[in-house]
């Protein structure tokens, strides 16, 4: 699409080749959604000579292409995909293999094994329970049943428990106790006590409890993982967005090189429609660039020789040759990526609700179990009975209700938000969102639509200029053409990059473009404007403005009603920002902020003890999004912003923000209800176990019963908003 000027680029660096010369190439394809897309893309690529195999993964958006020998240029693959109207970026071969979901795979396998164990152990424990109530099951048959249960349950529990054991061990070595410590101790102690009881022909063995406990907990763990899986690699995708190819000009020849290899002083060509790969200065060429992603500015900037360009700026109209002033890792984009990483680190220090509960729960339960053992022994129960009771305490005070309490609620809440067009990327995000007391909005693309619209233009004047506007691909001219509708197109049009378009309307020469191009002295450059005039006639000025999103004012009012403070931080000029702020009734706003100042403003709010929700869409917001307590991005936002944000709302309306906060608060309320229930349950169950009133049947009932109550509370209707 934008590659009309592109010369075949040498992208050999992106192919992974083996000894025989066959290679593999991976591309990230965006825009493919259906079966027809798969068919089109795979056919187009496999029709290229030298392509041995091609497969598009619709879930991850990755296109894997197998190449025969050295006969095909990677660039042809990119062009073939882009010719179909999809965006394709090449994956660095070192990055491509790294992104495998190993943790999810391990949890799924553990869940399968635990499910198998929990289901099959019941065959032997159900008859054993019958034996407990004096049915015709003599002591030796009971022991046989327990042995068979042990054969099924023990390997399953040891295998399925590995994620818990590992996490518990890591936490203990750091001198802390997370939720996995009581789980691991409980499971292991249960298995040991059950074995010794079976050996001694005892009546109580808890093999089923050990593996069922793990099964229930793994459900919670897997749900939690699925929620987080989408939010993996913010910084990684930012690098893919960065268009890994730069066109280096050397002795008049253009050659594609990975951006990472660009050196300071290299000459680089940037075709219209492409983004500047690194920071630099324009050598030759005239064009207009769109900095909206970098700074949030809506006005397009005219650039010529000597002008400074930031990495990520979109070149709109003319071909530019620039000199690199920084390497990729020193460029603006990379600096933003580093800020995002720092933000992600500060976030990982956030202590989740479940871990806070564990910090309370672990010492109490362990003290109770130890006390049961010591007191039981002291009052003459004997070590065997005392240990059995202590194990029963650990089993019935089982943390499975606690382990499910939060993930179940969060899955239900995210499913609810999903139906309202809001994607939640992690459970922790919902918890943080519920605590928010201050909302910071970006202006361009969030409070506004991010599209220029003509303001206060009489229809007959628009109709006059429309024939020229229809002939141009410039964003402002297109906005004007949209306003005018279908109609005549001017004749003999010549577009001057970065200046405007000239042509014949009914035989009269006319120009549409910048003030100087049309022949008036430049006025207020702060407004987004376009001038139009026939040769030697009066000149007409058209002003463009970014309109506020539908329902924005209502959403702001709702946020206030929820007790939140609202503020606007924008990279745009003060004029447009103050206009929008006044329109929406927001008194606190700041304009002209760089991405770094935005991040600092968030840090300053944090230092004052505020819990900030950042809502933004541009690259310039990515750092602020990553540093805020919680963050949201609209679906139209750049990938990097979507990756940095905790929640992404796909609808047009801004009321997704108050809705999400309402649901997050409800979810927090329900999680706390579940904890309260678990505490009450333990208050009854623990003393019962201490006094020896628990047998394996009651333990199994209590365990699944408490888990069911917690699950049902998560699923019951009646969410706020």
């Amino acid at each position: 699409m934008t590659r009309a000027l592109a010369i075949s680029r040498d992208l050999e660096a992106f192919v992974r080749r083996d000894a025989t010369g066959t290679g593999r190439l991976e591309l990230l394809v965006t825009g493919a959604r259906c079966a027809a897309c798969i068919g089109k893309i795979e056919r187009a690529v496999s029709d290229l000579p030298g392509v041995a195999g091609v497969r598009l993964n619709l879930t991850t958006g990755k296109l894997a292409v197998d190449l025969k020998a050295a006969s095909v240029e990677p660039d042809q693959v990119v062009q073939a995909v882009e010719a179909l109207g999809y965006r394709a970026s090449l994956f660095d071969p070192t990055e491509a293999t790294a992104a495998q979901d190993r943790e999810g795979r391990e949890l799924a396998v553990a869940l399968g094994v635990a499910g198998f164990g929990a289901g099959n152990v019941m065959m032997f424990t159900v008859p054993a329970w019958a034996g407990l109530f004096g049915q015709e099951l003599n002591a030796s048959t009971l022991t046989v049943m327990y042995w068979m249960a042990a054969i099924v349950a023990t390997p399953c529990a040891l295998f399925a428990g590995r994620p818990f054991f590992r996490s518990a061990w890591a936490s203990l070595r750091r001198g802390k106790a997370n939720m996995d410590v009581p789980i691991s101790i409980g499971v292991l102690l249960t298995l040991i006590v059950s074995f010794s009881e079976t050996l001694l022909n005892g009546r109580h063995a808890y093999f089923d409890a050990a593996v069922t406990l793990l099964f229930l907990l793994l459900i919670g763990r897997y749900l939690d993982h699925r929620l987080r899986a989408s939010a993996r690699s913010a910084a990684h995708d930012l690098l893919v967005l960065q268009a890994p190819v730069a066109m280096r000009v050397h002795n008049g020849v253009e050659q594609g090189v990975p951006v990472a290899q660009v050196q300071v002083g290299d000459q680089l060509a940037v075709a219209p429609g492409q983004r500047a790969p690194v920071d630099g200065y324009v050598d030759s060429g005239v064009s207009e660039i769109d900095n909206a992603l970098i700074s949030g500015e809506t006005a397009l900037v005219a650039v010529g020789p000597g002008a400074r360009i930031h990495a990520g700026a979109l070149n709109l109209t003319g071909r530019l040759v620039m000199t690199a002033a920084a390497r990729s890792e020193d460029s603006t984009l990379a600096a933003i990526a580093r800020l995002m990483e720092a933000g992600a680190q500060s976030r990982s220090a956030y202590v989740r609700l479940a871990d806070k509960a564990a910090a309370l729960y672990v010492p109490i339960v362990h003290a109770a179990a130890a006390l049961t053992f010591l007191v039981g022994w002291a009052i003459g129960l004997g070590p065997r009975e005392a240990l059995l009771r202590a194990a029963a305490v650990l089993i019935v005070t089982c943390p499975c209700a606690l382990g499910l309490a939060v993930p179940a609620v969060q899955i239900a809440a995210s499913a609810r938000l999903f139906r309202k067009g809001v994607l939640v990327k992690s459970g922790a995000a919902l918890e943080r969102l519920a605590e928010v007391d201050h909302v910071v909005f970006d202006k361009t693309g969030v409070l506004t639509e991010g599209l220029p619209r003509l303001v206060d233009a009489p229809a007959h004047l628009v109709a006059l200029a429309a024939p020229l506007a229809r002939a141009s691909r410039h964003p402002l001219a297109r906005a004007m053409a949209r306003e005018a509708g279908v109609g005549l197109v001017a004749q003999a049009c010549v577009e001057t990059a970065g200046q405007g378009v000239e042509g014949l309307i009914d035989g009269r020469r006319a120009r549409l473009g910048r003030a100087a191009f049309v022949g008036v002295s430049p006025g207020d450059e702060r407004e987004t404007e376009l001038w139009f005039g026939f040769d030697g006639d009066t000149k007409i000025r058209f002003v463009f403005e970014d309109k506020s999103r539908a329902g924005a004012a209502q959403a702001i009012a709702d946020l206030r009603a929820q007790g939140l403070e609202v503020e606007v931080l924008s990279g745009d000029l003060p004029g447009p920002v103050s206009r929008i702020a006044a329109e929406l009734g927001i008194s606190a706003w700041r304009a002209g902020l760089t991405p770094f100042e935005k991040a600092e403003a968030i840090d300053a709010l944090k230092a004052r003890g505020r819990k900030v929700l950042m809502v933004g869409d541009g690259l310039n917001d990515a750092a602020a999004l990553a540093r805020a307590h919680a963050s949201m991005a609209p679906g139209a936002a750049v990938d990097a912003a979507q990756n940095a944000a905790d929640l992404v709302f796909t609808g047009e309306a801004l009321d997704a923000v108050p809705t999400a906060i309402g649901v997050a608060r409800s979810a927090r309320g329900r999680a706390l209800q579940n904890f309260t229930f678990s505490a009450l349950y333990n208050l009854v169950a623990a003393p019962a176990a201490m006094f020896g009133l628990i047998n394996p049947f009651i333990a199994a009932l209590a365990m699944s019963g408490s888990s069911m109550v917690v699950l049902l509370n998560a699923l019951r209707p009646g969410w706020r908003r």
């Binding site: 259906c34 079966a35 798969i38 068919g39 795979e42 497969r55 598009l56 993964n57 619709l58 879930t59 991850t60 795979r105 799924a108 396998v109 399968g112 094994v113 198998f116 289901g119 099959n120 065959m123 032997f124 048959t141 068979m148 099924v152």
Partner: protein, 54 residues
């Protein structure tokens, strides 16, 4: 009673068969691209069964 000694391992074996089947579907990547598989089944020329190269 002796029948149990035969039936119990047999039924555990059936369960294990299910578990092995699940592990096999994981290994051959049947959960790698749920969206794509849902779409591919609609067209004969795209429906190439589970991928075998990983």
């Amino acid at each position: 009673m002796n029948i149990i000694l035969f039936l119990a391992p047999f039924s555990v074996g059936l369960g294990a068969l299910g578990l092995v089947a699940f592990l096999w579907t994981m290994r051959v990547g049947q959960y790698d691209d749920p969206k794509g598989d849902a779409a591919r089944v609609l067209y004969d020329h795209l429906d190439d069964g589970p991928p075998s190269d990983n």
